[in-house]
């Protein structure tokens, strides 16, 4: 996550000058409207024609309307309700074998044509510095199509009052259960994206995402100690139905913890979090050493994100992100060898832009490629990367894998992470049975602190809840746990993965990459998995 973007998004107690960077502030009713598809097609055709007239050999046009609503509360009060809208057009062309891009917030025909001409002019100007002309993987135009996130209830259409009441009910439940403080937030995003290209595609998409993070703090005034427990929800590619809890979507876990699959009980989780935050104040500190870790999907998603999703992005492998996010240990020679052991033979990691309810699920990516699923690591061996149209030839692919995304009409689309997930185990296994075989282990639930080096070798992860496992039994809550890994060794230490019945997805709402930085949202699924002999450190310190 981009810390700065999160601070902007929540307002973090700041005043008017730090408005969200995502567009103009509007009333809630604006969030439920759409632009006519026929108008978008006319504008797109205007831009495509202007680009071709200017000498472009390829052009794509994205007309985007990005709508967001944030509701920020603490304890018994609403701190902020912000609605934003950002609408405009981005035109990308290839001229003289070079990319050019221009964007405009003005959707008049003149302005759209001007942006196309500007993009061509930039491409021609930059072509002087081009070393290799752009090679685009073949794709066939798909004609006029549409795709929408399958939602039951558009969160933007739910009255703000109803949403505020839900957050305040969660806050009240936490306070009643002994919390000292609670912060709860509801993020809702609707991307209305229209894509058209000289390949003959006209794609209208309506994408929805929702996230309801809570953070509960317990304080022991006498000792000055404080501990927080974050909610166990996931950001999802869903509508408001995610916040209508269903019994069949609940998973029982150690310590009275409840996990959630496709709906979230925010009131219940806030109350449990309050109890557990207090329990954390008294939990014994971990003894550092090697442990067998049992990692819950609500935790493991972040480890997958950092240690698999990012290093297998082809632009990082090639060096395009060297100055910012970094490069990758998973170099092309390792992939070409066809025997690089990324993980144990139990480990299959796949990229998937189709996964239902996931943040990355779309019908087509931001260069009009129909989305799909493919393996990155198969039975432990590195077999593929994540690529887009102008990279596919580098890894011998005939077509793009559909990983192109821009966070705004005004940003250039580039390669972003697909949903990357750990395939469930093929043998029948549930977490309770997995624990029975662990002699000296730690069960970790929820995502915590995270940090990884610029080639994605050395990582450190915390969590929300840590339970000691002794001789096959979960014994007690412990604290101050973080584990340190070297990526290939960690995945090679994976000795068991629970079956499909335990599969759940987590995800990141604000994954940052690129300069200027862009955010994207991506999910990672897994079943509970076991990793043997992992180095655990104790993070308790004294300030004297």
């Amino acid at each position: 996550m981009e810390r700065r973007d999160f601070l902007k998004a929540t307002g973090a107690g700041l005043g008017i000058a730090l408005l969200p960077a995502w567009g103009r502030v509007v009333a809630a009713d604006v969030l439920t409207t759409k632009i006519d598809v026929a108008l978008k097609k006319r504008l797109a055709d205007t831009a495509l024609a202007a680009a071709k007239d200017g000498g472009a050999t390829y052009c794509d046009v994205r007309i985007g309307r990005y709508l967001r609503q944030f509701i920020v509360t603490r304890e018994d009060r609403v701190q902020n309700v912000v609605n934003t809208e950002s609408t405009g057009i981005g035109v990308r062309v290839i001229a003289n074998g070079t990319w050019g891009f221009a964007a405009s917030g003005d959707l008049s025909a003149d302005s759209v044509a001007r942006a196309a001409r500007q993009a061509v002019a930039i491409a021609k100007a930059n072509s002087r510095l081009t070393i290799e002309p752009v090679q685009l993987a073949e794709t066939k135009g798909v004609g006029e199509v549409s795709w929408a996130t399958p939602i039951e209830r558009n969160a933007m259409e739910v009255p703000v009052k109803e949403k505020v009441e839900l957050l305040l009910a969660a806050n009240a439940a936490a306070m009643k259960a002994g919390a000292s403080f609670i912060n709860s937030t509801l993020f809702q995003v609707n991307e209305q994206k229209y894509f058209a290209s000289t390949d003959g595609s006209y794609i209208d998409q309506d994408i929805h995402r929702i996230w309801a993070p809570v953070n509960v703090t317990a304080i022991d005034k006498a000792s000055g100690k404080f501990r927080a427990r974050a909610g166990l929800s996931s950001p999802m590619g869903m509508g408001y139905e995610y916040l209508v809890p269903k019994k069949e979507h609940k998973v029982e876990m150690p310590g009275g913890t409840i996990g959630y699959t496709h709906s979230y009980d925010i009131v219940e989780d806030a109350a449990i979090a309050a109890r557990q935050a207090q329990e954390k104040l008294k939990a014994p500190s971990v003894k550092p050493g090697k442990y067998d870790l049992v990692l819950d999907p609500a935790h493991l998603w972040l480890t997958i994100h950092e240690s698999v999703g990012h290093p297998l992005e082809l632009d990082r492998v090639l060096g395009y992100e060297a100055n910012y996010a970094g490069t990758s240990f998973a170099t092309l020679d390792k992939w070409k060898s066809k025997d690089f052991k990324y993980g144990s033979d139990k480990v299959t990691l796949f990229a998937d832009k189709l996964q239902p309810h996931s943040l990355g699920a779309v019908g087509y990516d931001d260069e009009g490629i129909k989305t799909k699923r493919w393996d990155l690591v198969k039975d432990g061996i590195l077999v593929n990367y994540q690529a887009i149209r102008d990279q596919a030839h580098i890894i011998g692919e005939k077509e793009s894998q559909g990983c192109c995304y821009a966070d705004s009409w005004s940003s250039v689309q580039f390669q972003r992470m697909a949903n990357v997930s750990l395939a469930p185990g093929k043998q029948k296994l549930v977490p309770a049975d997995m624990v029975k075989n662990v002699a000296n282990g730690i069960y970790i639930i929820g995502a915590g602190s995270f940090s990884i080096d610029q080639q994605r070798y050395n990582a450190q992860f915390g969590g929300q809840l840590f339970y000691e496992i002794k001789d096959g039994k979960v014994t007690q809550m412990i604290e101050d746990v973080a584990y340190q890994i070297r990526t290939p060794e960690f995945w090679n230490a994976c000795s068991a993965i629970c079956d499909e019945s335990d599969y759940r997805i987590g995800g990141s709402f604000f994954d940052g990459k690129g300069e200027p930085s862009q955010v994207s949202a991506v999910s990672h699924g897994s079943s509970t998995a076991r990793f043997d002999g992992i180095n655990v450190i104790n993070t308790a310190r004294s300030l004297g």
């Binding site: 009060r77 100007a125 000792s223 910012y324 940090s451 610029q454 050395n458």
Partner: protein, 444 residues
């Protein structure tokens, strides 16, 4: 047009204030032109210019607040945005933490603008890329870098007669230079308001030198080491620590500056007596706007004086609640130092580790501000006052509070911009004892 003159900005803001029928009205007008060029693999990958101007209007009826923004400034649009804000305010719940608009403030202009920076052209940006790539290619090295420049203005006004206007510029340059075989990596960063103080040709030499010297790094055992931290290496840690300097958080008991039994640690000796940090919008070379996001006038504010916590940030709401004076949110952080350079600190070191920069810093435990992160792009072993050889990168788990109690020596502060920090910083190179590295990284 995205850069308005003071007169133009005032005319728009005056109209907005006059249009509002609410109990009070605050309006901000800001515009910017941001240019950038990005390169990797010794070739330009993207470049662009984004222009933007935005008007924000905040009105209140009693404790009900509404905010609306717009990017058109004709009379009809101004009437529309005011009406929209008023409509939202009428629908909003009462904000129990509502604070009335600030009184008229006395803003003292600061030097945040450079004509030279505002005049940067696409050709200049391309030249910076060429000046980075050229010498790298010649030396069989690979450059990846980013230059971002901006010019803008910020104007603020309210119905109590407050008004401020100021122009700003900024240039931020970073470049990573790697050896072709990927065994060495160096980095350079420069952040200035005035592009006169920036010369890509000379800056790139720093990254080239580090890339070449960092090849074939040896592995040292993780543990506690004396470290010489270049200014960029500690900027992220110091900046992270500042999140705890909020009075409300501390009083609520959830900051490392909370006191056992309640209250905060203002007046307590928390750091080595050589640590002094303050904020000052007029600081030469690190000037920032003379007001914060609430429009409160910034003035020089001691934060840590000789190791004692002198001030926490009191928001207007919390200040009223605690009957204390409110403080503006600082825009910069100035850490006081001496005259020595990083290499002077190396010369006085018997055994230690020289760190170019730290990366991916995240909070592990807010109770102690325990942070984790890694060294990157130039980490070297120092012995008997000399840089001996490159070493593999380390992961650290360290608290800046402990770090600033383990000071051996402080050098001369330089301006540092950190991509994850909201502050312009003046940070000295520091020699620190017992800095905790917990594992090795194979990353180059």
């Amino acid at each position: 047009m995205s850069i308005y003159s003071e007169q133009e900005a005032k005319a728009i803001l005056d109209k907005v204030i006059a249009l509002s029928k609410a109990d009070e009205c605050t309006a901000t007008l800001g515009g910017s032109i941001d240019g950038n060029i990005r390169y990797a693999r010794n070739a330009v990958s993207t470049s662009g210019i984004v222009t933007d101007t935005q008007l924000g209007v905040q009105v209140a009826f009693g404790k009900r607040v509404g905010v609306a923004t717009i990017n058109e400034f004709d009379d009809a649009s101004l009437a529309k945005v005011v009406a929209r804000a008023e409509e939202l305010a009428r629908l909003a719940p009462e904000n129990p933490e509502f604070m009335p608009a600030i009184d008229k403030q006395d803003y003292k202009a600061t030097k945040t603008y450079s004509e030279k920076t505002a005049a940067i052209t696409p050709e200049f940006r391309a030249q910076v890329a060429a000046d980075s790539i050229g010498p790298c290619k010649a030396d069989k090295l690979v450059a990846a870098g980013f230059l971002a420049d901006s010019q803008g203005f910020s104007a603020i006004a309210n119905s109590k007669g407050n008004f401020g206007y100021q122009k700003t510029t900024n240039v931020d340059f970073t470049c990573t230079v790697r050896t072709e075989d990927g065994t060495g990596s160096g980095w350079v960063a420069r952040n200035v308001a005035d592009v006169e103080r920036f010369d890509a040709k000379s800056e790139i030499k720093v990254a080239i030198d580090k890339a070449k010297r960092s090849r074939d790094a040896k592995a040292l055992e993780p543990g506690k080491y004396t470290v010489i931290m270049e200014p960029a290496a500690t900027a992220g840690l110091v900046s992270f620590m500042m999140f705890g300097f909020d009075a409300r958080q501390a009083d609520e008991g959830r900051s490392f500056l909370s006191k056992k039994g309640g209250g905060n640690k203002i007046g307590e000796q928390v750091y080595d007596p050589r640590v002094t940090i303050y904020a000052d919008p007029t600081e030469a070379g690190a000037e920032v706007l003379p007001w914060d996001n609430d429009g409160m006038a910034r003035s020089r504010m001691p934060i840590i004086s000789k190791g004692k916590v002198e001030n926490l940030r009191y928001s207007r709401y919390w200040a009223k609640n605690k009957e204390k004076p409110a403080t503006a949110m600082p825009g910069n952080l100035i850490m006081v130092g001496g005259d020595k350079s990083t290499m002077d600190l190396v010369k006085s070191t018997r055994k230690g580790i020289l760190v170019t920069r730290t990366w991916y810093i995240r909070m592990v435990d807010p109770q102690t501000v325990l942070l984790t992160g890694l060294t990157r792009d130039g980490t070297f072993y120092v012995e008997n006052g000399e840089v001996k050889y490159p070493i593999k990168n380390f992961r650290f788990n360290e608290s800046p509070v402990i770090m600033l109690n383990n000071i051996e020596e402080i050098g001369k502060p330089v301006r540092v911009g950190d991509d994850e920090s909201p502050f312009v910083m003046m940070i000295p190179p520091m020699k620190i004892r017992d800095f905790t590295f917990t594992s090795l990284s194979d990353a180059v």
